[in-house]
């Protein structure tokens, strides 16, 4: 119950927290002709001048850059308030104008990632999927090794549960990535994109694991032994297909070439701290969900095997 509440709150905040950049984003995106208005988080400072309809403030954005900001009096804002709203840039006097107010004094702000905007929130859903998929395959392989060492069929059941969940999370990461690609890169699928191709190969490798299990007509012990060996060999490809191949090839996907990925071995997430906090909360929540579903899977399969010993 507490877990469901935390997870629900995290997902709600993943959507409701405003996305905002700084003055520099507004000026840059306007100069590039991308957008005339950009969401900016500003803290209103001293009022410089006042007219019947517009007040001018010296304001600081979230990166502490101080600029002149014109604010319509109809917004009823005061000095000291932190506001998230769309701003436009006037190159002639290097001033900014607040066009609307989206949120006043927000508790948290997500960073504006240029070129992504609101789509940047997808990081909080897509990245945990990929990360948990890796954890699931790792857990599956761990149990396969345990099975080969100890020969207890319960470890094989754990391996099967973890790998099937790994397959599910990889499928979800692929589908969500594909939808995201359509709205960021223009295509659902591109065969020249190494990240997409490598994840498809990984999916096929793990689909083959389940096909192998279902097609073998042998004793449970032999089937489990062969599947465990296959699972360990399959996992050997996971670091290569998930981490190495996308790093050594050029790609539109973040983390390609020399660029550091979002989650990396240095232990630093290359994203804004507010984003990073929610990313790790979502990773933790999906990880807990993985272990809950895995446990459920094992309990159901155990009962089934007790009732139908010949069933696989």
């Amino acid at each position: 119950m507490i877990f469901a509440l935390c997870f629900g709150t995290s997902i709600f905040l993943s959507f409701s927290t405003p996305v905002a950049g700084g003055f520099r984003d507004t000026a840059m995106l306007m100069m590039l002709g991308v957008s005339k208005q950009t969401p900016v988080a500003v803290t209103l400072g001293n009022r410089i001048s006042d007219s019947s309809s517009i007040s001018t403030y010296s304001s600081k954005d979230r990166f502490d850059a101080e600029r002149i900001l014109h604010v319509p009096n109809s917004f009823a804002l005061q000095s000291g308030m932190t506001v998230v709203g769309e701003c436009s840039f006037t190159p002639s006097d290097s001033s900014y104008t607040l066009m609307n107010v989206q949120r006043v004094n927000p508790a948290m702000i997500f960073p504006l990632i240029q070129g992504l905007g609101e789509l940047g929130r997808n990081i909080l859903f897509h990245v945990p999927m990929s990360f948990i998929a890796f954890i699931a395959f790792l857990v599956g392989t761990f149990y396969s090794i345990l099975f080969l060492r100890k020969g207890n069929l319960k470890y094989d059941l754990h391996a099967r549960a973890a790998s099937s969940l790994g397959l599910m999370f990889t499928t979800l990461a692929t589908v969500t990535g594909s939808i995201w690609a359509r709205f960021s890169w223009g295509k659902f699928w591109d065969w020249d994109e190494p990240r997409e191709t490598s994840i498809l190969v990984l999916l096929l490798i793990y689909i083959a694991y389940f096909l192998l299990r279902s097609l073998l007509e042998d004793t449970e012990e032999k089937k489990a032994r062969l599947a465990a060996v296959y699972n360990i060999i399959a996992f050997a490809t996971v670091p290569f297909l998930m981490f190495v191949l996308p790093r050594i090839t050029r790609s539109l996907h973040p983390g390609s070439g020399s660029e550091a990925p979002v989650i990396n071995l240095s232990g630093k997430t290359h994203i804004d701290p507010s984003f990073s906090l929610f990313l790790w909360i979502n990773v933790a929540c999906f990880a807990i969900l993985f272990f809950i579903i895995k446990d459920l899977y094992i309990r159901i399969e155990t009962i089934r095997q007790q009732r139908e010993p010949n069933y696989d």
Partner: protein, 41 residues
Amino acid sequence: MDFLQNNPLYVVAIIAAVIWAGIFLFLMRLSGKVSKLENGK
């Protein structure tokens, strides 16, 4: 598609919905196994 291009928050909502639909389908599969066990009593 143009609507989604202009309202990216809906794209995020679709992605979240796809994830929950996937997890829900997996749980439905497990629920189906439980039903089979119950009927086999």
